[in-house]
């Protein structure tokens, strides 16, 4: 095994790069300057340093990514707006890297990382949520192409995406996990229709995507025909890792909003609400420390299952804290800023009103794997408890009750 890049090496390379490419000018310039800077950073292997050389990385340890990101940020360099391209960075890229051909890598990874091309994920369907492997979107082979028909849902960024990772059923006559195939879909192809999906907050972060006779060249397939479930595991595993989230200071998240409300408004305080506040503060701090410990485990190269605890408790806490805030605000909490349908690209838990937080938080236990599915995973994979009797794994997909 080749020796890995050290932190000192990396810092040297970054310094050299920054000497050649003025970060401030790139940040202060227009889109073109910004993009040129990001492309150069990619080409220098300083984009995602744990990716292979030539594909934006240096084959370095994953730990060093933090070093690179912090160094560029400290230098005032423009970033690739990671909040906007999270699906590409977190899910599509590792999957393309692991299952794509060199031509795929060459075509897709650079514009993905620079943010020139936004990606979205076409997995969930109205009839296949928790049971993703039960999906029905059909892909049929036709010459060198595949023809796809079906409906996907809960697709964030679909309305601005250039590419999608797409999971389809290519063989309904075998058990459900065996009949899936994984593609990269051109979102500008004829037959792709994107409709906003309005959610209970009034806005539409997500979309429904209708696929009608959409042609995908076989060359855009990732992995073998029928191996889609295996390929999708790469995507989903990376989703779970990335949900571990950033390191926040104490009171850095939603609990900080509640704590501020409490401090700002002594007249609303009651003993009962104080008890609730303190219970939530403790749980939020416990969750935060757990997140720190998970990051230390990752950094030490010993990722454990504790990340599941982070996602599960995040959902519970965001719901409980936002509910407590409404309880604290009383009458004033019944006032919202707006019900207008907008198309936000990020969830803003600390900037909006209390009603938004309460409502939006309801999605945290549904999106990215419901809390129920997560509890099943913890019970079976972490604790080793036995699976329930399964009735769906040995029957041809087409014969399953639905």
């Amino acid at each position: 095994m080749a020796s890995l890049i050290t932190e000192a090496d990396l810092r040297d390379r970054i310094s050299a790069f920054l000497a050649d490419h003025d970060p401030a000018a790139a940040a202060g310039g227009g889109d073109a300057e910004r993009l040129a800077f990001l492309r150069a950073r990619f080409d220098a292997g300083l984009a995602w340093v744990h990716f292979p050389a030539g594909l934006g990385g240096l084959g370095a340890g994953r730990v060093l990514q933090v070093v690179a990101d912090e160094a560029f940020a400290a230098a005032g360099a423009p970033d690739n707006r990671p909040g906007r391209i999270g699906i590409g960075l977190g899910m599509a890229a590792p999957t393309v890297l692991a299952h794509g051909t060199p031509a795929h890598h060459e075509r897709w990874l650079r514009p993905l990382w620079t943010g020139e091309e936004v990606w979205c994920q076409l997995f969930s369907e109205p009839g296949a949520g928790s049971d993703l492997a039960g999906l029905a979107t059909r892909a049929r082979r036709d010459g060198d192409d595949w023809v796809v028909d079906g409906q996907k849902v809960w697709t964030s960024m679909a309305h601005v995406a250039r590419w999608a990772i797409l999971l389809t059923r290519t063989d309904p006559d075998v058990p459900k996990h065996a009949g899936l195939t994984y593609f990269v879909l051109d979102m500008t192809a004829p037959g792709v229709e994107v409709r906003p999906l309005r959610q209970l907050t009034g806005e539409a972060e997500f979309n429904e995507v209708y696929l009608t006779g959409v042609r995908i060249p076989d060359d855009h397939r990732l992995g073998d025909v029928g191996a889609g479930w295996k390929v999708a595991q790469t995507t989903l595993m990376n989703e779970r890792v990335s949900i571990g989230g950033g390191a926040l200071p104490r009171e850095g998240g939603m609990i900080g909003v509640l704590a501020k409300a409490w401090r700002d408004d002594p007249a609303r305080r009651t003993p009962g609400l104080h008890d609730t506040l303190m219970r939530l503060w403790v749980r939020a701090e416990a969750a935060r420390l757990t997140g720190l410990r998970v990051r230390q485990q990752l950094a030490a190269g010993a990722p454990g299952p504790d990340g599941s605890a982070v996602k599960l408790s995040f959902a519970t806490l965001s719901q409980q804290i936002s509910a407590a805030e409404l309880d604290f605000l009383g009458d004033e909490g019944l006032r919202r800023d707006s019900w207008a349908m907008s198309r936000p690209e990020e969830v803003d838990f600390t900037g909006r009103d209390a009603g938004y937080r309460y409502l939006r938080a309801k999605g945290n236990s549904i999106e990215g794997g419901t809390s129920e599915v997560l509890r099943n995973i913890i019970a079976e994979r972490v604790l080793g408890l036995p699976a329930e009797p399964r009735v769906d794994t040995r029957v041809a997909w087409k014969d399953l009750p639905r």
Binding site: S130, L197, L200, D331, L334, R335, G363, I366, E372
Partner: protein, 357 residues
């Protein structure tokens, strides 16, 4: 001990109201009402319900053109309206405002309310749980503001608690600003009285009674709301398949719904007791009202939250009715005193003080 079971008349009344609401107030029409966001309440539905079925005058004595019915009947109606999240001012006008006018209220006014042609709102914040802030009336005009009043936007008459009594102010004489409300099925508005002409219509005597009734009947509404959420969730889970099984066969969900059913069953008993106690003159009415408001609020919010969660993604969308119930549940939990406020009040009533006396 009060009779906690429903009488045959009450069973009939419930069936009648439910049938009417099924025809005139399906959730699609509530969603359309909320999405359009312009109206104060559903006027067509209110005509059918208030005037057509005569429910606007349910609690108004027969002498004043009402039905002279008991609180128990109002409880049945409110519960059904809660099941339908119906955007009508029954609770605010036909219960709270009507009660605030009291036995000594003007017969003409009560008659107008009974007919359903006029609706009134008690000009107090929706979350009020103790004695209202009193406005000042001098020289026949009132000045001041009240924030976040329920169903005041479409009310013909606002009933203003002032130092020397309850005054009536024409809705048109008040600057009313619609609030973008968490629960748009019962929008709030801010009231600004700028020397608005006001006439004395009753003493303040009946106002505490109106607030007690408001808390108690809000709990009845919450029981109806929670029932809808539980029923709808159960039906969804029976028909939704994942992993080739109805989702309702998964034990973790079953147990949560069983617990919810237990909580709802208890809330039903508590509300039956509280409404019956209002009806009987109510020596235990304050305890019962607080108890009902606590238990009702908790079960409504929990039922609505479980309804959203157990519907999965679909329950998170605007096009599914679950959010109408979630928003109503959370708003009613604040209305007329949150559980936290009522627990504090209850502590005093049952001699379990926090501080040493």
């Amino acid at each position: 001990m009060s009779d906690l079971l429903e009488s045959p008349d009450e069973v009939d009344l419930r069936a009648g109201v439910r049938e009417m609401l099924a025809a005139e107030c399906p959730w699609q029409s509530v969603l359309a009402f909320v999405s359009s966001g312009g109206e104060a309440y559903d006027q067509k539905l209110w005509r059918t319900l208030g005037t057509g079925m005569g429910l606007a005058g349910l609690l108004v004595p027969e002498a004043q053109g009402g039905a002279g019915a008991q609180w128990r009947a109002a409880g049945v109606v409110v519960e059904e309206l809660g099941r339908a999240v119906a955007p009508v001012p029954f609770l605010s006008s036909a219960v709270v405002a009507t009660t605030a006018l009291g036995a000594g209220g003007s017969p003409a006014l009560l008659g107008q309310l009974a007919s359903g042609e006029l609706t009134a709102a008690l000009a107090v914040p929706y979350g009020l749980w103790k004695a209202p802030r009193l406005l000042s009336v001098a020289g026949g005009v009132v000045t001041g503001t009240v924030r976040g009043v329920a169903d005041a936007l479409g009310a013909g008459l606002l009933l203003v608690p002032a130092e020397d009594g309850l005054y009536a102010v024409e809705g048109s004489a008040v600057r009313r600003t619609r609030v973008v409300s968490l629960d748009e099925t019962r929008p709030l508005c801010d009231l600004e009285f700028a020397a608005a002409p006001a006439r004395l219509v009753a003493s303040l005597e009946a106002v505490p009674c109106a607030l007690r009734a408001a808390a108690t009947l809000t709990a009845a509404e919450q029981v109806g709301l929670a029932s809808w959420c539980l029923d709808t969730t159960v039906e969804h889970l029976k028909s939704r398949y994942q992993f080739a099984r109805p989702v309702g066969s998964f034990q973790a969900l079953k147990h949560r719904l069983a617990d919810l059913w237990v909580e709802l069953t208890q809330a039903r008993a508590v509300v039956a007791y509280a409404v019956a106690d209002l009806a009987s003159g109510g020596e235990d009415a304050s305890v019962a009202a607080s108890l009902a408001k606590i238990v009702g609020s908790e079960v409504a919010v929990r039922a609505a939250e479980e309804c959203v969660q157990m519907h999965g993604g679909i329950g998170f969308t605007w096009e599914h009715p679950a959010h109408l119930y979630l928003k109503r549940a959370k708003a009613t939990s604040v209305a007329y005193g949150s559980p936290d406020r009522h627990r504090a009040r209850l502590a005093g009533l049952v001699d379990l003080p926090l501080e040493a006396s």
